[in-house]
Structures are given as C-alpha cells and as structure tokens.
Amino acid sequence: MAEAAVAVPAAAAGRRFRLPKIDPYAAIGLTIYVVFFLVALFADRIATHDPLEILFDDDGNLLSNVAPGAAHVLGTTNLGRDIFSQLVMGTRNALIVGVSAAIVVASLGTLVGLVAGFFGKWVDTLLMRVADVALGIPFLPFVIVLAAFMGAQTSNVVIAVALLLWPNTARVIRSQVLTVRERAFIEAARVTGSSTWRILFVHVMPNILPLTFLYGSIAVGWAILTEASVSFLGFGPSDSISWGYMLQDAYGSQAMSRGTYFWFVPPGICIILVVVAGFFISRGYEEILFPKLKD
C-alpha cells in the first residue's frame, strides 16, 4: 500500500495542486514569497524615491549617509541615494530573475526528464550525459564568463542560471518517471489505445508535476542568489538596481567600517529570506511526495 499512500494525498486534490497547508515551514515559505511578490508588483508605489536619483537637500547639499528616519526609511547611501527605494526596486529585479529562471529551469528540466525517463535507451543515455556535463561546469565562474562575453544583462544571468540548474531537475524528474512508467495504469493507457504522446503528457506528466513545482521553487532562490553574487562581484547589469548591486555598492564604499549597517544588512536579509523560503516550500512538498520520510 506504500505506493497508494504516496499517490493519495495528491489525488485528493483532484487535478489541481493543493499547496501544502499543514506544514508550518511551507506556510512560512509561501508567506515570504507572497510578501516579496506583492512588493515587486507594487514597487513603483512603495518606493519613495527614484533609486538611482542623487538626492540633495533644499540647500543643495548632498544627502549622503543620512541615518534612517521619517524622510528616508533606511537612510541614504554615501552618494545620496535612498536605500529603501533601492531595496524595493531590487526586489522587483530579484523576482524577475528568480521567477523567469525558475520557469526555464522547471520546464526544461521536466521536459528532458520526461523524455529521457519515458523513452529510455539511447535517448536517455544521450540526455543524461549532457546533464552530467552541465553539472560538471563550475557554477559561478561560468555565469561570470557568460556575463562578460554576452554583456551584463539580466536576461543573460537568467540564461546562465537556467543552463546550469536544469540537470538537477531533469535527473529527479527522470527517476520519478521511471517509477511512474512501470505503474499498471500506464500499461492500461497503452492497452486502451492511447498514443505515446498522450501517455507521456496526459498520464505520466500530471504525476510528476509536484516535483516540477518543487524544483522550480528551489530554483527561484538559487537564481536570486546567483544574480546577487554576480552583481556583488561587479559583473551584474549596471542599468538596474539589485540586492547584489546594493551589497557591492556598500562594500565598495566601505559601509562596514563606517558602521552604516542599514545599508547592507537589509539586502542581505532579503536574499537569505528568499533562499530559505524556497527550501521551506520544498520541505512542504516533501511531506506530500514522500509522506513516509517523517513517521
């Protein structure tokens, strides 16, 4: 009955995917995502200033290193830019990078995993060897080199992250497909005359989609972390604000030694929160996918 037990919770939700309600970690993770998503969506209204605008007071003095207060929630940088606005706009950029990379990773990984696992033989061998190669590439150097060659644009960071992260998803999906493929209802679909593609996408795929979502949610965190790293190292897009850019800016201006913690602590916390949220959600999915893990 072990198999049935695995299948049941997902089936109980019918064909929709019920998000994990019970697991408190998953709930926390989801809440974090939702908050950041809302911030990103309404970033224009939440931000109090243009994040790149250099601010002066009425007397024409540069508003540099202003401490947090009513006018500037998190103060200003040493070049007189509003930190809170940077953080808010950075959220939008972070989420754009994270979500678009996650979508590419999840769909590419799922497709490759499905095809490799379902068709097996040389298709499987070929795709999995390609995945091995991709897994062998050192992560950050590859992203940096790619950004250096193709230009430091947000889209290139997304592409780089996607190229490196899909194999993890593909491997897990493939192993799940190998299990699902052997279930009797798949053979039943064959006997009733379903075409190969129909079996693949109508019968097999819905049974592995929870894993797709799981790996997608982890990829969000990874992509944001990567973007931050690249920006922090100074290879990020120069035209837009991101959390990594803020950290780099703060580092370059010796914010630490000046004690302007309000400058670099908030973006650091944001990065941690997003990455942790991804893992919390994956924990919730784990409960659904492998309920036996926790007895």
Binding site: M1, E3, A4, A7, V8, A10, A11, A12, G14, R15, R183, A184, F185, E187, A188, A189, R190, V191, T192, G193, S194, S195, R198, H203, P206, N207
Partner: protein
C-alpha cells in the same frame, strides 16, 4: 470452426545485464521467459494459463496483446498478424483486445476521476462524445456497478478493491472487445469479494461471447472460469487440456505436483509429500532437454538429451513428456 487465436512457436528472450566476463567473451545472456509456445483458441473459448511465478504466463499474456514484442513465432488473432500490426491497424487491434489487471489499486490513474478513466478508451477510439453517457451506463450495468450514486465522479482511492476491479473491468469492456486477457484478476482482493468479480467475469464472457485467457497461479480459480487449462513451467507449455481432466488425471509430472499442492479448505486431505523436489532453476540456464527433469522423480537419461514435444495423448489433452 477456424481458430480465433493461433499462436505458433512464440518465444521471448529478455536480455539481462552482462557480467564483465560475458562482455569480454561477447556473450549475450538472456532470460528465456517464453520458449516455443504453441496453442490455438476458438471463438468464445476461455482458457486458463496456470503456472508458478516466473513460468512465463504473464509474459505470454503481454505478448498476445502486443505489449511486449516477441522474439520469435507468430500470433494470429482474427486473421491479423499481431506481431506486424502498426498505426491504424494497431489502433483497431487495441479496440478488440483488452487486458484486465492484477492490481486494481494501481491500474487506474490516481489523478483521474473514474469517469475519465472509463471514457479514456472511447476518446482514443474516437467515439462521439454524445454516445459516452449511454455507453458508460451500459458497461456499468454489465459489471453491476450501476446502482452506486455519483461513483463516476470519485477518485480511485475512494473505492474498495472490489469496486475498483469492476471499474477496471468496465474500462476493458467499454469498446466491446472480442478478446480479453485477465492477469490474476482477483489475487489482490479479499476472499469474500473475489467470488463477486469472478461471477461478473463469467457472466460478461457469456453474454458478450468473449474469448478469454485467465492467467493465474490458482488452479481452483482457473477451474472456476475456464474449461480448458494450459500449464506452463519455465517458459514452456507442459500440459494443455480440459480443466477437469487436468485436475483429475494430470499427465505431466509437474502438473501432478501442482495439482497435489493446491490447498483445499477441508480438514481431511492428503498431507503426503509432493512428487517434486528442489526449486525452480535459473531461467538464464534452464536444464537441457526437458526443463523439469532435475526436479522430476521419474526422469531418465533421455529427458536430458531431447526436448519433449507437446503430444496429444487423449482427445484435446496434450502434454510434453517422454514417459507418457
């Protein structure tokens, strides 16, 4: 009357992973799952294939339905050469030949409602949607499920094993097939509901004039649904005859042991030793000659040298043994 199903020399070898030495020597070891199986079935006949696990009975059933590709031999069903079927012909074949699964808990997609599972064959066969409700209602009546309200909107995990197996049967019957293979249809079910499923299967076979193969390890069950029995051992047919004759006068030594081993729910019964020794040998290296010889109490030298042919020893009763 011409046979509906004609199977000749059906053989299936599964490749197995090789050891380093076998790779070096260029050997390709195989599991001889099914070897030279030959039999025919008339329209409307029902046959039980009996044997222990690993005897090739399940593979034979899969081969007949073209779910596994045969290595050698021919399968002719209703004039079609089953092994050569492709494209639209294969699709037509799938309407006529169906399978009933062993494990009803696994045979239905857990994410589909029962209606969707049962309608799947209709969709694949291109039956107009307008006819679906009538067809579903009719088939549910056949399997005695029509009285249960809003059953069709439920998911598999909400049903009992007996109900699920009826749904599986309904899905197999909805396109009105002519040929059906039932692979251990009740072995996963509780005793008290088994009889219900078997009765339904018997009933639909008669009313629909189905030709059916029941694959089972249980002789009592085979006797209940099939007047003819084929006994398999290590991929080969060792005996083929009327079920009653196989039970009362089994010819092949293996069939004798098998019949003697069948448990009966009675206190007074023979508890003597079985006329069989040892255990089933490795299917990668079956014994030469007769595959049963190393366990057979009557084996002679000839059994090791020559593969016994399946001979007709009484009307409609064949067995493969040199000593008969």
């Amino acid at each position: 009357m011409a046979s509906l199903l004609d199977v000749r020399g059906l053989t299936k070898h599964f490749p197995v992973s090789r050891t380093l030495r076998e790779v070096a020597r260029g050997e390709r070891p195989v599991v001889r799952a099914v070897e030279d199986v030959t039999f025919a079935m008339d329209q409307g006949e029902s046959v039980g294939i009996l044997g222990e696990s690993g005897c090739g009975k399940t593979t034979t059933g899969r081969l007949l339905l073209k779910l596994v590709e045969a290595s050698e031999g021919t399968i002719t069903l209703d004039g079609y050469d089953v092994r050569a079927l492709k494209g639209p012909d294969l699709k037509r074949f799938r309407r006529h030949a169906q399978l009933v699964f062993q494990n009803p808990f696994d045979a239905l997609n857990p994410r589909f409602t029962l209606r969707r599972s049962i309608a799947e064959p209709l969709l694949n066969a291109g039956v107009p949607k307008g006819e679906w409700d009538d067809r579903i209602a009719a088939v549910l009546k056949r399997v005695h499920l029509s009285g249960v309200s809003d059953l069709m909107e439920k998911f598999p995990h909400q049903l009992s094993g007996g109900q699920l197996q009826r749904v599986v049967l309904a899905r197999a019957l909805i396109l009105e097939p002519t040929f059906i293979v039932a692979d251990e249809p009740v072995s996963m079910l509780d005793v008290s509901v088994r009889a219900g499923i078997l009765n339904v299967m018997r009933e639909v076979r008669e009313t629909m004039g189905l030709t059916a193969i029941y694959i089972s390890h249980d002789l009592a069950l085979v006797r209940y649904v099939a007047p003819r029995t084929i006994v398999m051992y290590l991929g080969k047919i060792v005996e083929d005859g009327p079920t009653d004759a196989v039970i009362s006068r089994p010819l092949h030594p293996y069939a004798r042991a098998l019949v003697a081993a069948v448990p009966v729910p009675r206190v007074d019964q023979d508890r003597g030793a079985l006329p069989i020794t040892g255990m089933i040998p490795d299917a990668r290296n079956p014994p030469s000659g007769c595959r049963f010889r190393d366990r057979c109490p009557y084996a002679v030298a000839r059994c090791a040298e020559e593969v016994p042919a399946l001979r007709e020893l009484a009307p409609g009763h064949r067995a493969a043994c040199h000593l008969l």
